[in-house]
């Protein structure tokens, strides 16, 4: 088995060109899936018998919440790769993940609050999932804060990578302790949205939105990665050739 493909992924010019080539292949399917999912979810799907039209926010909320965790895991993996094999591109990838992930987390929190107002009668409930989502936002902010705080780029990369790995180990612990904490204080009154009994006309758009959000993240990540690589390699000669200046 040859590892050349892996070694090539460590080369900034190669990754820069590859990211440019791949971006449209992710961005267009993402756009189509999201348009289709939104059309299916907001127009075609029937209103919920309990929540009426209010449930439709799930088509943004659930994919955002899903992405918030997936992006953190991706960030942790990229950080670990960068830390172990000292690959600069992996650090650039991890650094590009954080703002995207924090935005998804914020979106999940805001849509959750907007959904909570008509359903629970309050914008904020100390529901275990909302709470651990909020903690996740703090983890993202801490990561970005640490990066911003260290001036030397290489040290910022390695220190923040270590933090991301520590965070990935801790996310499940935090999640389960928050769930446990909450079950002591209130009965599980939170409505369980749909898993067993969601009809296909509601579920299909949700799955489309999930796939669309995942691809959207991929596209955003590649764009950010190119910007990050450009910034890091701004003194390199291949950049001048690439940009034709």
């Amino acid at each position: 088995m040859t590892w050349t493909w892996f070694h090539r992924l460590g080369s900034p010019p190669y990754v820069y060109a590859l990211a440019a080539r791949l971006t449209p292949w992710l961005a267009w399917p993402a756009a189509l899936l999201m348009i289709g999912g939104l059309w299916g979810g907001l127009v075609l799907a029937p209103p919920d018998y309990q929540q009426g039209d209010g449930f439709r926010i799930i088509y943004v909320h659930a994919p955002s919440a899903w992405m918030s965790l997936m992006v953190y895991t991706t960030m942790g993996l990229a950080a670990a790769v960068g830390l172990i094999w000292r690959i600069k591109v992996a650090h650039a990838l991890a650094a590009s993940c954080a703002p995207v992930g924090a935005s998804f987390t914020l979106a999940a929190l805001v849509t959750g609050a907007l959904w909570g107002e008509p359903m629970w009668g309050t914008y904020w409930e100390w529901d275990p999932r909302l709470t651990s989502e909020l903690v996740l936002l703090f983890l993202y902010l801490g990561y970005m804060g640490l990066r911003a705080g260290i001036e030397d780029l290489q040290r910022a990369d390695r220190a923040s990578a270590l933090l991301a790995v520590v965070g990935v180990v801790n996310v499940p612990i935090i999640h389960y302790s928050v769930t446990w904490w909450n079950s002591l204080h209130q009965a599980p009154s939170v409505m369980r949205l749909g898993k067993p009994s969601m009809p296909g006309s509601m579920l299909a758009p949700l799955l489309m939105m999930l796939a669309g959000f995942t691809l959207l993240f991929g596209a955003l990540l590649l764009v950010r990665l190119r910007a990050e690589v450009l910034n890091r390699e701004r003194a390199a000669s291949w950049i001048r050739e690439e940009l034709g200046t």
């Binding site: 903690v135 801490g142 804060g145 640490l146 220190a159 270590l162 520590v166 801790n170 935090i174 302790s177």
Partner: protein, 223 residues
């Protein structure tokens, strides 16, 4: 060999700390002041205080241990001791662990001894003292270890206090949750074995992983 080095590092840190007794008392005074804030800001009724006591106690302990964390590595990083540790050929993990152990002996242990007093002043019954002592004692071990990672990561940063809290507090939440729960059960006279065991599990997990992560972070900060 590494064990000897770690023991020397531990005694050195304890000696240094006892030369500066003023600094030693600061986290304790801070903890006492935070405890005073709660009756003053809510109500002096003991029945009501008893309900907020677990939360007040743990928020106070968490903040006090956080306050002391800034000094865990800082002086040794400034005067080059940490660099010598890293170059000494001894296990840096062991040395960092020794420093963390000294930190716990100097802040965590006194805090856990003081916590029952604070709890009594907040209306906890005397029979809850052993439970609270155990809960804060075990929990503060985990807090010191988790904090050592954060302190090592923020070593090279000026005015790192707020950032250190932002890094450390989310990771400390499980300790806070189980600690406060154990304290609550102790105050009500119920068995606090379940949360205490979870606290101990967190402490053991931190004991195994945190020194490795903190040593790696110290190396990164020294690069």
């Amino acid at each position: 060999m590494s064990l000897d080095a770690a023991r020397l590092a531990l005694t050195r840190d304890l000696h240094l700390a006892f030369r500066k007794r003023g600094q030693l008392v600061q986290p304790l005074a801070f903890f006492a002041i935070v405890t005073v804030l709660f009756p003053l800001s809510s109500s002096p009724e003991l029945a009501q205080l008893r309900r907020v006591a677990p939360g007040a106690l743990w928020v106070g302990a968490l903040l006090a241990s956080l306050l002391a964390l800034e000094f865990l590595f800082r002086d040794d990083a400034y005067d080059g001791t940490l660099e010598q540790y890293a170059l000494s050929g001894r296990s840096l993990t062991g040395l960092v662990f020794a420093k963390t152990a000294a930190h716990w002996l100097l802040t965590g242990l006194p805090l856990s001894l003081m916590a029952p007093l604070a709890a009594l002043s907040l209306g906890a019954p005397p029979r809850s003292v052993p439970g609270i002592l155990a809960a804060v004692g075990v929990g503060s071990v985990a807090l010191s270890l988790i904090g050592s990672v954060g302190a090592a990561l923020t070593l090279g940063i000026k005015r790192s206090g707020a950032l250190l809290s932002l890094l450390t507090l989310p990771l400390s939440l499980p300790v806070l949750i189980f600690g406060a729960r154990a304290t609550e059960l102790a105050i009500h006279g119920a068995s606090l074995l379940a949360p205490l065991e979870l606290l101990a599990a967190l402490a053991v997990l931190a004991l195994t992983l945190a020194p490795l992560a903190a040593a790696a972070a110290v190396r990164i900060s020294l690069e």
